[in-house]
């Protein structure tokens, strides 16, 4: 048993923490959130130069990490600083699917992704799919040697900045069948592809995506026809571990801010941290946060397991993180009082980020059901 980070990961963590601490201040971040692009191209490039994107891919994919613990090391730090730049979407989800399933030609884009020159997005969820991975109504049909895509995708994070979308579409079967799903690489600007972009509550941007008789060549197909569900599930598992680690980092910041505030804010002539009513809740928060850390470690350590064990651990983590996340966000705000309601104060964004992470790739309830389902097979 060894709970230490390897020296490489320790270095990665130190580098990232130092860089973000200096560079990604509350002021800078608030400016990024308010900007039209909703992200900073400059910071994206700088982080890529530091090897952050490379750390999310394995060596044979052109990176130097890509395993569960690499992912959690990176995302915990991104979460700690409240980073809104879409590393999850570009690298873990869309980039990951390209890395796992792509042909040599398709994988060419990864070099540019790792170098910070290209961004991607994964267009999977649909207006009525909620968190159901197999619920896909968007259709793909072969037509004169090419493929025609039709459908609607919802809340596609980073769709506008992506040079290509990885689109999930159904080639056969019913809307809820895991079988019959295929993936396609659709370059931005392809005729018939339209985006309606908007900012997100937790920062960054997403879009409603409409595909109306979008034609792509057969070469756009990513992976085997009608048989990509297990690859999707594996990538979503990885992304859920990343989201859990990100929430953990953000919760650490919420805790640190609250501890500092309880020590300095005075009411009734004494620091509010001297009131036992707040002390005990701070203690509970700390206990729960350690639980959250363990859940993240546990899930990261089971990423390479067979499906059932992997999914069970990932859902356990996402469920626990969802519960603890709500507690930490709400309690941090409450114990601060009015100041926490101000957008300018650092906690506001951090708390929103924590709560909104629960709405990505399955919330607390969804993962509780999934945990139960995978516990009884």
């Amino acid at each position: 048993m060894n709970f230490e980070l390897t020296s490489e990961r320790q270095m990665l963590q130190d580098t990232l923490r130092r860089y973000l601490g200096d560079r990604y201040t509350t002021e800078v971040r608030n400016r990024i959130i308010e900007s039209d692009a909703g992200m900073s191209a400059e910071i994206w490039r700088e982080l890529a130069d530091l090897g952050i994107v490379a750390a999310l891919f394995t060596e044979d994919q052109g990176g130097f990490g890509g395993l569960g613990f690499d992912i959690v090391t990176v995302f915990e730090e991104l979460g700690r600083a409240g980073v809104v730049e879409p590393f999850l979407d570009t690298a873990v989800l869309a980039g990951g699917l390209v890395a796992d399933l792509g042909s040599e030609a398709q994988r060419a884009v990864l070099e540019r992704v790792v170098g910070g020159e290209a961004q991607l997005a994964w267009a999977h969820g649909e207006p009525t799919s909620r968190y159901d991975l197999s619920h896909v109504e968007t259709t793909a049909r072969s037509l004169d040697g090419g493929i025609e895509l039709n459908g609607r995708k919802s809340v596609v994070v980073n769709a506008e900045a992506a040079e290509a979308l990885v689109v999930t579409a159904r080639e056969s079967g019913e809307p809820d069948d895991p079988e019959g799903l295929s993936l396609f690489l659709v370059p931005g600007g392809t005729p018939g592809l339209s985006l309606r972009g908007y900012p997100l509550m937790g920062g960054a941007r997403a879009a409603e995506v409409t595909l109306e008789t979008v034609h792509v060549p057969e070469a756009a197909r990513l992976g085997p026809a009608g048989d990509v569900y297990s690859a999707i599930e594996r990538r979503v598992a990885m992304a859920n571990v990343a989201l859990s680690a990100e929430a953990l980092g953000a919760m650490e910041t919420a805790k640190a801010l609250t501890v500092a505030y309880l020590g300095t804010r005075k009411q009734f002539g004494r620091p509010i941290g001297t009131f036992q009513a707040l002390q005990h809740r701070m203690a509970d928060l700390m206990i729960e946060l350690e639980q959250a850390r363990s859940a993240v470690i546990l899930a990261a350590g089971h990423m390479a397991d067979e499906r059932c064990s992997r999914e069970r651990h990932v859902s356990a983590a996402k469920n626990l993180i969802g519960r603890v996340g709500r507690l930490v966000a709400e309690e941090s705000i409450q114990m601060h009082g009015g100041i926490a309601m101000s957008q300018e104060y650092e906690l506001a964004h951090i708390a929103k980020r924590i709560v909104m992470l629960d709405h990505r790739l399955g919330d607390t309830d969804h993962h509780m059901e999934r945990f139960i389902a995978f516990s009884h097979v």
Partner: protein, 397 residues
């Protein structure tokens, strides 16, 4: 023991319902139902409609132009308004300042200010909190120094709700810095259009700008704007707070919120079935509904005692804690109910007039509302402070 409305209460409820269905414009109730913010004009229009009917100041005695309702009638009115998605009646002039003036104001102050509250001639805001004085309100520092027939006011208030619309602010100011904290405070009415008053908006985490900082630099306030006696302001402030805490349970808001949540949960689907049939979701929903049913009854028990003339004491603290916890739980469930569509942040300013909403029309404001209503357990005396009050009464230590 009889839990149903008396025939008189029932008739009154019917009358309120009929009025609302005839007079509440859909333009307003649609916005309230959708969780959208109301403009200054929206609020003023609704106040004016109620005032015409004589129902704007439910609790005020008839001699001051109020409806003279007892606690039960007030409760019925508030509940029916919430269920009809009527705009809330802004409390600052009507529920806060009005009762203070009636109890402690001079005849001239009553004659001048009370009709203006009803007519909407003045828009009032509440200047209690300061950056250094929140829960510990008595530590406030804004200074008022007597200078002939004026006070010279310097200092800062904060978290001033809707101060951007206000032309008048009632303030607690320090008139005797040498006295014990509670004893050197006065209650002053300040014209916000006077030179030296500056209002700066505070952007809240949900993107709204409903609160402000208010700065006073050598603001001259005529002495006739002092309410009651100098240095007795704390007594009036406490009196006001007990009024602020009536309807603190927000039962009507919770009932309306729960209805909206059920509506959403019937439309949303999870695992191919309506979300409302999902066992985990249904269990959460049931739990909050059970809590709400009991709390509504606690509220009625307190109200009927109040109608008999007993002033609510520690009960209002209990209702504040439970009422806000329930409202916040409903907000949380509503945000969960809409799934991934809780994430888009499409502020009203960005909503084009002809653009359809992102996702289902009910989804837009739910995350913002969840975050905004974190305030419920912070303001009006935080829930920690309320628990402290309850414990003190209970333990007598």
């Amino acid at each position: 023991m009889d839990l149903s409305d008396t025939p008189e209460e029932l008739a009154f409820r019917e009358e309120v319902r009929a009025f609302l269905s005839a007079h509440l414009p859909a333009r307003l109730s649609d916005r309230v139902r959708a969780g959208k913010s109301l403009s200054k004009e929206d609020h003023e229009a609704w106040h004016a409609m109620l005032n015409t009917k004589g129902w704007l100041a439910g609790s005020w005695p008839k001699e001051y132009g109020g409806a003279g309702w007892n606690a039960v009638e007030r409760h019925i009115f508030e509940e029916e308004c919430a269920l009809a998605y009527a705009p809330r009646i802004l409390p600052f002039g009507l529920a806060m300042l009005g009762p203070v003036l009636q109890a402690f104001g001079s005849p001239a102050q009553k004659d001048y200010w009370l009709p203006r509250i009803l007519s909407g001639a003045d828009w009032w805001c509440q200047g209690y909190s300061e950056p250094g004085a929140g829960s510990d309100l008595a530590s406030l520092k804004t200074r008022a120094v007597r200078d002939g027939d004026h006070y010279l006011v310097n200092g800062q208030k904060t978290w001033t709700t809707l101060g951007q619309h206000a032309n008048m602010i009632f303030c607690l100011v320090r008139t005797d810095p040498a006295a014990k904290a509670q004893e050197g405070i006065s209650f002053l009415l300040i014209d916000m259009t006077a030179p030296g008053v500056e209002v700066r908006p505070i952007l809240l985490l949900d993107g709204t700008a409903e609160v402000n900082e208010v700065w006073f630099t050598d603001v001259r306030v005529p002495v006739e704007n002092l309410v009651g006696e100098e240095n007795k302001g704390w007594t009036y402030a406490k009196y006001l707070l007990t009024h602020e805490r009536t309807n603190i349970a927000g039962v009507g808001f919770s009932i309306a919120g729960l209805e909206r949540l059920k509506h959403i949960a019937r439309i949303e689907r999870s695992g191919g079935r309506p979300l409302i049939e999902n066992p985990h979701f249904a269990a959460r929903l049931a739990k909050v509904e059970i809590d709400l049913m009991a709390m509504a009854t606690t509220n009625l028990r307190v109200i009927s005692r109040a109608a008999e003339g007993q002033a609510p004491g520690v009960e209002s603290s209990m209702l504040k804690v439970k009422g806000t916890v329930i409202r916040q739980e409903i907000n949380d469930l509503t945000r969960r109910a809409v799934g991934p569509y809780a994430m888009p942040f499409v502020s009203e300013a960005l909503e084009g007039a002809n653009e359809p909403p992102v996702g289902p029309d009910y989804a837009g404001p739910v995350a913002a509302q969840y975050f905004n209503n974190r305030k419920l357990s912070i303001y009006g005396g935080s829930n920690e402070v309320q628990r402290q009050i309850i414990a003190k009464t209970l333990l007598e230590l």
